[in-house]
Symmetry: C2
Subunit: 227 residues, 2 copies
């Protein structure tokens, strides 16, 4: 009976964590769409919804803490709860970066547009969104191998980042009127790149969950990063 | 006897956490000095030392986990251990950003220098370093009020960031030869700004430690951020 109760609570914790992940994924997706389409209403929606993501983190934290204190789990059970505690902070910060993208959208004042760079940013965002979805799935399945594979995909995000950096530099050098607009593009690029880093962090927690080992994935990838 | 043992272990955990914090602080300080003085040897030192910071995080994680599993602490004791688990991840990532600054130093190829911007970056780094030292002290003393005060100082870091952004834009608009160099300055600026955000995270953990409440400090400050 005691064990059944614990398993139910643990399952509930996983479900709530996944739901939080989906809320964050939606925020990222919407924020980039808002930026690209200059949609300030949608951007405001992302900003307003962030309070729910924060509440979800607090709720997960509270539940995890109580489960540890009251049920005193050990080994794998304890590790599962610790992972939720750790990874929910990463999710929450991914949500914060979506908010930052939304805020850049609201701040932009009709700068010269660069459709090619915007298109590349959209592709980068699609890649990041796909990674977020994959990492949530790998978490639910506690799939260590998949987590390693997803973390490697972050190198593609870094490639997008480098490409956007070069496009922005070129554009700024050719036409100084585009400097402020290009800095905005670099800004959104840097937020997406950070979200990719958080996905990598969650991959590290999945490996920890599965093996008990804390490892650093992509520790050299940052060498390639430009912003 | 049991309690005495637990208290000793907890004290040891705090000491090790503080030591890790000092290692990170040194890495940040050295990386910015290396960048400003174009000192690639010092930059390499920061990169090489990061492995020790990572090992320290793994060690803290392991000790915390074992303390929870073996001693089954509740309430305040448990919260202290959870805080170390959470905040050590933040420290580790601050170290990663110091490495990123060091890597930018190694990548730079004799761009046109801008002494004024470098001076402002140095001031920003001094502020960040001071905040890191303060937050470690507030952690040791579990001083919630001080943590709130330190988090507010992050707004000064954001002000430095805005100032550097404006200086870089101006310089790039005036002379397109400075675009690549200015992007490097923006890059280092963004790493310092992220380190400031992590200090704010640790402030949040200190408040959690002291009150059991998870709150988000500076949630609106990002509105002012430019990168």
């Amino acid at each position: 009976m005691f064990r059944q109760n614990f398993d139910d609570e643990l399952n509930d914790l996983h479900v709530r964590f996944s739901e939080m992940g989906m809320m964050v994924n939606e925020a990222i997706y919407k924020s980039v769409n808002a930026f690209i389409n200059h949609d300030k209403t949608l951007a405001q929606e992302v900003i307003d919804a962030d309070v729910q993501i924060n509440e979800r983190e607090v709720d997960l934290e509270k539940r995890s803490f109580e489960m540890i204190a009251l049920q005193q789990p050990v080994t794998t059970d304890l590790r599962m709860i610790v992972t939720v505690m750790k990874a929910s902070s990463d999710l929450e910060r991914m949500g914060d970066h979506a908010v930052s993208i939304a805020k850049s959208t609201i701040r932009v004042k009709g700068n010269t547009r660069a459709p090619e760079i915007e298109e590349t940013l959209a592709q980068m965002a699609t890649k990041v969104k796909q990674m977020v979805e994959e990492v949530l799935d790998a978490y639910v399945k506690s799939d260590e191998k998949r987590a390693r594979k997803i973390a490697k995909e972050d190198l593609l995000v870094d490639e997008f980042s480098n490409k956007i950096y070069k496009m922005c530099i070129k554009q700024m050098q050719e036409d100084s009127d585009t400097i402020i607009g290009s800095m905005d593009y670099m800004l959104v690029d840097s937020y997406l790149e950070r979200i990719g880093d958080y996905v990598t962090n969650i991959c590290e927690w999945i490996i920890y969950l599965d093996t008990g080992k804390l490892i650093e994935l992509n520790s050299n990838s940052k060498e390639e990063n430009v912003l």
